[in-house]
């Protein structure tokens, strides 16, 4: 039984990503959307935290939101998988439930 967790706020602004990561397991996935996508890009203060998280859990980032913020020219943090909206839909079908960390 696994959960798709959605986080939509930048960890520079809100603690929801941390709060999510501290309570999920290795079979769970996290998808970053909206302003949360900024932290999927290499080079930020949180890169090493995210890299460790990606080693233990499946991390995804929504490409349209990356492009909107002009960050498509930056590499993603190692271990992240990029998805579009159809990929987002597929993730929802592949997990037993969805938990939005609002």
């Amino acid at each position: 039984m696994s959960t798709l967790n959605i986080v939509n706020k930048s960890p520079f602004e809100k603690r929801s990503l941390d709060q999510c990561l501290s309570r999920i397991g290795s079979d769970d996935a996290v998808l970053l959307i909206e302003d949360a996508v900024v932290v999927a890009m290499a080079g930020t203060r949180y890169e090493s935290d995210l890299k460790s998280a990606a080693a233990a859990k499946k991390l995804y980032v929504l490409t349209p939101d990356v492009e909107a913020r002009g960050l498509a020219d930056k590499p993603v943090v190692e271990g992240f998988t990029q998805v579009d909206y159809k990929g987002f839909v597929a993730l929802v079908t592949e997990h037993d439930r969805v938990h939005s960390w609002l």
């Binding site: 039984m1 959960t3 603690r15 501290s22 309570r23 397991g25 037993d96 439930r97 609002l102």
Partner: protein
């Protein structure tokens, strides 16, 4: 008033409450949804983590901000057969709160047990 749901399906619902009361409407609405949802005879749990634990703090007094004090409604949940109220121990502790500060009886869970609780659910409603 909602009519009773005749679909015959029973699912496990968890309401996850992560915000302090009054600063936003979500705490109030979570309670409303649980009370309305009771008519559907589903398996309902409420989980309070992060600032959501403040929703259960005793002695809320909203007169001077002119808000409805809905916190007393938590005491009515039992009458609606909503009896599974889980509170994360670490969330209380980080805020200097203990079970004695809460206005209803709850079951404490550890942070490491939250995943197991969520894994048992069909539907997560986040407030």
């Amino acid at each position: 008033m909602e009519e009773e749901y005749a679909g015959g399906v029973e699912k496990k619902f968890i309401y996850i409450n992560r915000r302090a009361p009054h600063g936003t409407v979500y705490a109030l609405e979570s309670l409303e949804t649980v009370l309305i949802g009771a008519a559907f005879d589903q398996d309902v749990s409420m989980l309070f983590i992060d600032d959501g634990v403040y929703q259960l703090k005793k002695d809320q007094s909203t007169d001077s901000i002119e808000f409805k004090n809905f916190s007393k409604a938590f005491r009515a949940l039992e009458m609606y057969d909503v009896e599974k109220l889980f509170v994360e121990a670490e969330s209380l502790q980080e805020r200097g709160l203990s079970e004695d500060d809460l206005l209803v009886d709850v079951e404490l869970v550890k942070r490491g047990e939250v995943k197991d609780l969520i894994d048992q659910q069909d539907v997560v409603l986040s407030f």
